[in-house]
């Protein structure tokens, strides 16, 4: 059985005076123990909302999220029992408390796991920082170092599932793949699952075992990283991969996906991708492909 199972999840954002935005509209996803799943998609497709819902940070409208067989309860003000899921947020400048020493912040995680043996310095060492950094404040560090501290804090709670919500997009290019690999190595070493969310396919490709591609609130393709990379089947995945410019010096402009991302308030009828799809058929306009692993009428399972 998989560690995390997201089943037909629907998450809506409601705000007064506006129609509800269905950020996640029936997504299915599983993450196994020791498995690294990369969730990719354009900004605004609901990746982060999905991750936040998995952590209990966003209320679920419909569908279910089970972690280790137990449903994930929304995070409230009470002390949380579910500490097996830990998250690393996008912006390490905002996710660390500027007024507390990083050692103390890492110690919060240790306390959560009732770990009295490990010291914060040990964790800093694991993420590749010197032990004596525990006594410093976040402002003394660069973005990459801060993100490492945030990872150390998440790991301190001994999570069985680590979620990275665009953990590398706020970092410098040189630090990106390094931090991504660090997250992978640490999660896999600890036998934890990792749900790694990013819009940067080239980095996800380096670290993920499986890739899930999300479009407008739905997962449109799931598959082994190498397979998806070499042989993308959903037209959207193809478009995503073709948009990556290659450093071959030929001056070829990347292929642009026609049209705009539709407004999630009012998604298109039928397949969500059909207005932009180069292979659109009649069936696409009328009926939504509700199957996997490739949610496209061209790849309907028999």
């Amino acid at each position: 059985m998989s560690l995390l199972a997201v089943d037909d999840l629907v998450v809506e954002h409601r705000s007064p005076g506006r129609p509800a935005v269905r950020a996640v509209a029936g997504a299915n996803l599983t993450v196994g123990a020791g498995e690294v799943v990369g969730l990719v998609g354009e900004s605004g497709c609901g990746k982060s909302t999905l991750a936040r819902a998995v952590c209990g940070l966003n209320p679920v409208t419909a569908g279910s999220i089970t972690f280790d067989g137990q449903p994930v309860a929304p995070l409230g003000l009470r002390r949380r029992k579910l500490t097996g899921i830990q998250m690393v947020f996008q912006d390490p400048y905002a996710s660390l408390n500027p007024r507390r020493r990083v050692g103390d912040q890492v110690a919060d995680g240790l306390r959560t796991a009732r770990d009295t043996v490990t010291s914060p310095a040990d964790l800093l060492e694991r993420v590749g920082l010197p032990r004596e950094f525990a006594g410093r404040h976040p402002h003394e560090f660069s973005g990459g170092q801060r993100q490492r501290i945030a990872i150390a804090r998440a790991l301190a709670a001994r999570p069985r599932l680590l979620i990275g919500d665009e953990p590398i997009s706020a970092l410098d290019a040189s630090a990106q793949s390094q931090v991504a690999r660090l997250m992978r190595d640490l999660a896999v070493d600890a036998g934890a699952g990792l749900l790694f969310i990013s819009h940067d396919l080239s980095v996800v490709r380096l670290i993920a075992d499986r890739i899930a591609v999300m479009y407008l609130g739905r997962i449109v393709e799931v598959g082994d990283t190498a397979e998806v990379w070499a042989d993308p089947r959903h037209p959207y995945t193809k478009a995503l991969l073709q948009a990556i410019p290659k450093p071959d010096g030929m001056g070829v402009l990347p292929v642009e996906l026609p049209g705009d991302v539709p407004d999630p308030v009012n998604p298109p009828q039928g397949c969500r991708f059909h207005p932009r799809c180069p292979h659109v058929m009649d069936v696409c306009r009328g009926k939504e492909p509700e199957f996997g692993p490739v949610a496209c009428w061209l790849h309907e399972p028999r």
Binding site: A175, Q176, S177, L206, A239, G251, P254, E256
Partner: protein, 328 residues
């Protein structure tokens, strides 16, 4: 447009020569030479801390407090570094525009998108309220914001990151600048949006004869849009030349190392650069070099003389390479 505008249209190249910038006694740029031509995209590559961004900022006199710049930055007849503040204000946002990396910080959170799009148009181009609005909506459509007319009245937080960057680009283009400095304009964007923005940049460059300085670490982006490519390292341009040559037959060892560290190159693992020691100051020992980026003895002079464009810098670059050699 004023007669000044007419005058500069003929030779709207931006000419940076011997640009040096130091902050607190540390030399950040150690003599940068770049030439931007109208209708051409000049890519500036290099890892973080190499001075790419500083070069862009120095052109507009936006350097951090306490920084000292020397050398010349010529726009038409004028030297931007020597221009009085009032004159420079006329250039900034009007003739030379800039797009920053992070649209969350470059847009004002409390002003509507429309206000931010029209403010400088009304000032620089002296447009009326209605005209400015019309142009703003047109620009928003051009950068592919869905529902441009409604977007006009919204605030930056109501847009996603990719949208915000497109708005920032629209703002930069509003006054039809001659020179556009784009500092990592697509780093924060999705690949699909990036493809659109790159096409947009390329298109504008060709259509309007815009001279673009594209600062990016992404060699893929560089390969897609840049005509000329310059590679920076530790405040110096180590290699400069046409895109095809620099990316396919790199002369400088550092360029080779950069290309070799890409995931597709089958080379060593990317990003062996250590972010824990990013000291742009000189002569900082750069652990960054380790396996992937350490050039093989740069001084092996067989390659150095081939460096075109900024050949003057090659020997010094060789020097820094030897320094790294000693460190290892």
């Amino acid at each position: 447009m004023s007669e000044r505008g007419e005058g500069t249209r003929q030779h709207s190249d931006l000419d940076i020569s011997g640009l040096k910038v130091s902050i607190g006694g540390k030399e950040i740029l150690r003599g940068v030479d770049l030439r931007l031509a109208a209708g051409r995209v000049h890519g500036l590559a290099g890892e973080s801390g190499s001075g790419k961004t500083m070069t862009g900022l120095a052109v507009l006199g936006l350097l951090p407090h306490g920084a000292r710049a020397s050398g010349t930055v010529r726009l038409g007849e004028r030297d931007l570094l020597a221009l009085p503040a009032k004159e420079l204000n006329r250039v900034r946002g009007g003739e030379v525009a800039m797009v920053f990396q992070d649209p969350t910080t470059s847009l004002h959170p409390m002003l509507t998108v429309g206000r931010q799009l029209t403010e400088h148009m009304r000032h620089h181009l002296r447009l009326g309220r209605a005209e400015a609005r019309e142009r703003a909506v047109e620009l928003l459509g051009k950068v592919r914001i869905p529902g441009p007319a409604e977007a006009y009245a919204r605030f930056p937080h109501q847009f996603s990151g990719g949208m915000r960057q497109r708005i920032a680009i629209a703002i930069a283009l509003a006054c039809s600048p001659k020179v556009l400095i784009a500092d990592e304009p697509t780093t924060a964007l999705d690949v699909t949006v990036q493809a659109g923005v790159l096409r947009l940049l390329r298109g504008l460059c060709d259509e309007l004869g815009l001279a673009v300085l594209l600062v990016t670490h992404d060699l893929g982006v560089m390969s897609a849009v840049a005509d000329e490519v310059s590679v920076m390292k530790d405040g110096l341009v180590v290699e400069s030349g046409p895109r095809g040559r620099v990316l396919r037959e790199p002369a400088h060892a550092y360029t080779r190392a950069l290309l070799g560290s890409l995931p597709d190159a089958g080379g060593p693992a990317p990003g062996t650069a250590d972010p824990s020691a990013p000291d742009p100051g000189r002569p900082a020992p750069r652990t960054t070099g380790s396996s992937a980026t350490a050039p093989r003895t740069t001084g092996s002079s067989a390659t150095a003389p081939r460096t075109t464009g900024s050949s003057a810098t090659a020997p010094r670059a060789g020097g820094s390479g030897t320094g790294e050699e000693g460190e290892r």
